[in-house]
Subunit: 326 residues, 2 copies
């Protein structure tokens, strides 16, 4: 841990250099300053400084569809080559035809179904090695970069700024637990134990005298909407004081964070930047943003406009993982 801090001493540069000067950046800095000011009226002890981040569409891009769906497609193709009769049938057949528009019209849970069904029998480590190998090569279909280069630079700065300010940062995602764990430590600097996500059931087995776990093709928790709050309680046991999301799937989590006592903040990222990324909200059926946006003011959310509030979206030039161990 602490690798980022060594690379970018906080005292010499703006910790949020990729956030554009304006009311949103000012509110964010004001919040962090207030909760860390010892003897200030809004001081929060480090144990209670919990920040929760959604992943898809919040820490990295999620269009045309969530990146994990592309990964599941590549796995599905492998399986279909080996055993066509098992996989060339609904609902998998539609995926194998790469009909991204049709997939984007599904519910998030249905769209992620192949991701949860196609890795049964693997250990979590075997699965993660597959993800890492895929991420090293797989390219985003339109953004002209690897999927893993579609991480938002302003959010990496925010993660770093919060860590330097004594926050514990958790990712709370509807995506797959082992999928996110495969890259979160390298890309975000967030360790495995701080990922709360959708998961499949696992089974304890003893093979050749060695105890191990294998993945089953059955969902244990689908971590979206209210389930995000329930799983925050299960995993963290404290109410976050800061929550960051981008869809109605994050609405319950944002309301939960902002409903506690003392100083709190909820950020809602709005994708309104056609030139640098994508423009969408309620029209994205897979993970729409409507109710949270329409009620942002009433609920006390701070809306982040990608177009207005981010000076840069992605890191330009060659890809150097910010958090990669030397």
């Amino acid at each position: 841990m602490g690798r980022m801090l060594e690379m970018f001493p906080m005292s010499t540069i703006d910790p949020l250099a990729s956030w554009r000067t304006g009311p949103v950046k000012a509110a964010l800095v004001d919040f962090v300053t207030a909760v860390t000011k010892i003897d200030g009226p809004d001081y929060v002890s480090p144990e209670e400084r919990i920040a929760v981040f959604d992943n898809d569409g919040t820490l990295w891009a999620e269009r045309p569809v969530q990146f994990q769906i592309y990964f599941a497609l590549s796995r599905l193709e492998q399986l279909a080559r080996k055993n066509p009769s098992a996989w060339l049938r609904p609902p998998y057949k539609a995926f194998l035809q790469h009909d991204i528009k049709a997939i984007a019209a599904l519910s998030k849970r249905d769209a992620l179904a192949p991701a949860f069904a196609t890795h049964a029998g693997m250990t979590p480590r075997e699965f993660q090695e597959g993800v890492t190998a895929w991420l090293d090569e797989a390219k985003h279909p339109t953004l002209g970069r690897l999927f893993k280069e579609c991480v938002y630079l302003p959010q990496l700065e925010l993660l770093r700024y919060l860590r330097a300010s004594g926050f514990s940062r958790y990712i709370v995602s509807g995506g797959g637990l082992d999928f996110i764990r495969a890259f979160a430590e390298d890309l975000y600097g967030v360790p495995a134990a701080q990922i709360i996500a959708s998961s499949v059931k696992t089974q304890f087995e003893v093979k050749g005298g060695k105890a191990t776990l294998v993945k089953l093709p059955e969902i244990a928790t689908f971590n979206d909407r209210e389930a995000k709050v329930e799983n925050i309680q299960l995993h963290i046991g404290r109410r976050p004081i800061l929550a960051i999301g981008n869809s109605d799937g994050d609405l319950a989590m944002l309301r939960y964070a902002i409903s506690g006592e003392g100083r709190r903040m909820a950020l809602l990222l709005h994708h309104d930047d056609a030139a640098r990324e994508f423009v969408y909200d309620r029209d994205f059926k897979l993970s729409p943003l409507a109710k949270a946006l329409d009620n942002a003011k009433r609920y006390g959310f701070t809306v982040v406009s990608m177009k207005r509030d981010w000076k840069r979206v992605f890191r330009t030039g060659a890809f150097h993982p910010l958090h990669k161990a030397a």
Copy 2:
């Protein structure tokens, strides 16, 4: 955090002063020394230094029955006074008669059933305030001290020694999640996010415009035996290198810890000390120790004899929580 270290500088005293000199203490110190020795053959990076502790019978006593059962009894009596017809019926009636022998003959899950059923409608915080108030006064029936004074001093030293050695310490218990969270930070120095335990389902609700969670009377996970390993993967995502337990409920977890690559250790505490605590193993139906003890050598477990290996069991004199904030 770090409170203990400030109170007891590691350099000036034996970190395991309540462990008696002998092969078990030597093996424990040798293990911690080996995995922390940079450039040594058994070095383990801090991220991978995960230690998991069972709670009942491992960190504090569990006889005549697990302490949470006494807490649930006190709650059940409250409820039965208010609404006798709802609670003066099986299975709760037997509990209300305080027949501890009958309760001890139940399965662990059945014995804990009132604990999971009697707190519906409370928020986790309300529940924890009740636990804290109860623990401040409730006395163990035979040991002549408060329940919270039945914590094992050698294990507090081990928890502290591991933290000072860069380990992350988790409690992995069949007991209730919110019950353990109510005291684990004060008594053990282990924060809420590092408790993995049995849990009830919770429900997201908005009351008066504020989002909150309430407990439901339905078990979500019963964290015993193989489920301990599955939940270690869910919550931590790394295989522990050190596991400590005292019953067959910990067998899968101990085997899982010891089955990984590199240097590892599994400790099995045997209650064989009639003078200072209790003597039991396979005869304790609620949480028997039989298979793990009979196969300890074959599986590579280190058996800790309370009588032989612990110089002191409890802290004598007045109770001062080791980890209590000043």
